[in-house]
Amino acid sequence: MDPVTNWVLVILGEILVSIGVFFDVVAAIGMLRFPNFFVRLHAATIGAIGGAFVPLMGVALIAAGCDFLGKYRWFIAGAAAVTGVLVLMLAPVGSHLLAKAAHESRAAVVEPKVVDFLEEDKAKEGGEQ
């Protein structure tokens, strides 16, 4: 490919990686500062999507723009993209199932609890039966 495209790809990729760094920092702060399990899970998922999916896409772009890698560059780009898509698909499901399990087993105590619709729905269902 011509050098200009390469440069554009690399710079785009680097921007994405920087965004990823920002999200990772935010997620880490959230993990430390948030009060209970569910919001911390929210922070962790930010780390997974913003901090893993986005930079992986960036890595794919950078690899695609690096001529010196030879034939390996498509290999690296493809692997990074596939990994990113898998993370995008699986991370939210993982947090969803974790949250569900924590809620059902009542292992996590929600301290400043404003409203719990799931609990109310369950109570309603139980009442109807």
Binding site: L86, M89, L90, V93, H96, L97, K100
Partner: protein
């Protein structure tokens, strides 16, 4: 040289970190935490294997020690008890832990200083040199395994007998477990809404399972070319049914009529495939009135028959390795399914069959 030093520093960090993780895993009273520490140790070991240039072991180790072991032990903890009834003084623990770390570093210094020969040596042993020279070398076809993957060639060709019996150990362990749970036949009716996890989980599992199966099959069938092989592929494959079991619940297997007996039959067919591959050249040779060996792959001294090693367009087939890997993957996957099906039967039902008066010697 800087990068080389960094490489060794990483190794040393993995080693010391694993000591800490093992120490914590051993002294921990809460079994869940002990499993967690043991998983950390496994991860560090996996990284160490990667640094030690053992990709085959990494591929085996990650599904087994980081995935299946913790899963099985979590099943075990769920079915038994979580806490160990031992108290140890905190101070003693810290002292022992620190002392062992100091011991590690001090003895390492002694070895590095005095030298029990170079550690690591610059060269491999002569025997290893022979393996490396003959694993894929068409110029000496009579002593070559004709597969570029050194470890898989040793596993299935040079030392194939070991591997057949290693498979036998796994087989006998499964048979012993089945014998322990004999007579336990539990069936339920699968209810889409009641059993298993949420719809989101089930949908994504439906997407992921084919991917896992694809990866597993590719690891198994490329075993003679790249790191991987039958056992690695099989244990990666086994993750798919395990996922289905966890997400869709055990009753899903009842719905699709996939029982323990069927899994056992699949496993046996895989193993018989292994056995048949071991004897294939010998059987062919008997019909052709030629000499041959048990577990023969390529033509050998005085035994001219062998598996084809090259397909159309020069694709490497690896002789018997391909067949061994495919059969072994099938067998290992089915074996894990059997064990997880057995583990997932509700405990109350198992107790009604397994505990209590039945046949006795007296």
């Amino acid at each position: 040289m800087i990068s080389l030093t960094l490489y060794y520093v990483l190794m040393a960090i993995c080693g010391l970190g694993s000591v800490v993780a093992v120490f914590l895993a051993i002294v921990e009273r809460d079994m869940l935490k002990a499993v967690l520490f043991s998983a950390i140790q496994s991860t560090l070991y996996a990284f160490l294997y990667y640094l030690l240039m053992a990709p085959d072991i990494v591929l085996t180790y990650i599904p087994v020690s980081v995935g299946l072991y913790p899963a099985v032990i979590l099943f075990l903890i769920k079915k038994t008890e979580r806490f160990e009834d031992v108290e140890m003084k905190k101070g003693v623990l810290w002292a022992t832990g620190l002392l062992s770390l100091v011991f590690v570093i001090a003895t390492a210094a002694v070895i590095a200083g005095k030298g029990i020969g170079p550690v690591p040596p610059p060269d491999v042993r002569f025997l290893a040199g022979w393996y490396l020279a003959t694993t894929f070398n068409p110029r000496v076809h009579l002593i070559s395994a004709m597969a570029p993957e050194g470890v898989t060639s040793i596993v299935w060709d040079y030392r194939g007998l070991d591997t057949v019996f290693e498979t036998a150990v796994l087989f006998l362990a499964i048979i012993a477990s089945v014998a322990l749970m004999r007579g336990v036949e539990h069936k339920g009716v699968y209810d889409e809404l009641k059993h298993g996890m949420t719809l989101i989980g089930k949908t994504i599992t439906k997407i992921v399972v084919p991917l896992i199966i694809g990866v597993g099959i590719s690891i198994a069938l490329h075993g003679h070319l790249t790191p991987g092989g039958g056992f690695q592929g099989g244990s990666a494959l086994a993750v798919a049914p395990l996922l289905v079991l966890v997400v869709f619940s055990k009753y899903f297997f009842d719905k699709v009529k996939f029982t323990k007996t069927k899994a056992l039959a699949i496993r046996s067919s895989g193993l018989l495939g292994v056995g048949l591959t071991a004897f294939a050249v010998l059987i062919a040779a008997i019909f052709l009135h030629k000499p041959a060996y048990i577990l023969q792959n390529q033509p050998r001294v005085g035994a001219p028959l062998g598996f084809p090693w090259k397909g159309i367009d020069g694709v490497l087939l690896g002789g018997s390795l391909l067949s061994f890997n495919a059969c072994e993957a099938m067998a290992v996957c089915a074996g894990f399914v059997i064990l997880f099906l057995l583990l997932s039967i509700p405990e109350r039902y198992v107790r009604s069959v397994v505990v209590g008066g039945e046949e006795h010697e007296h």
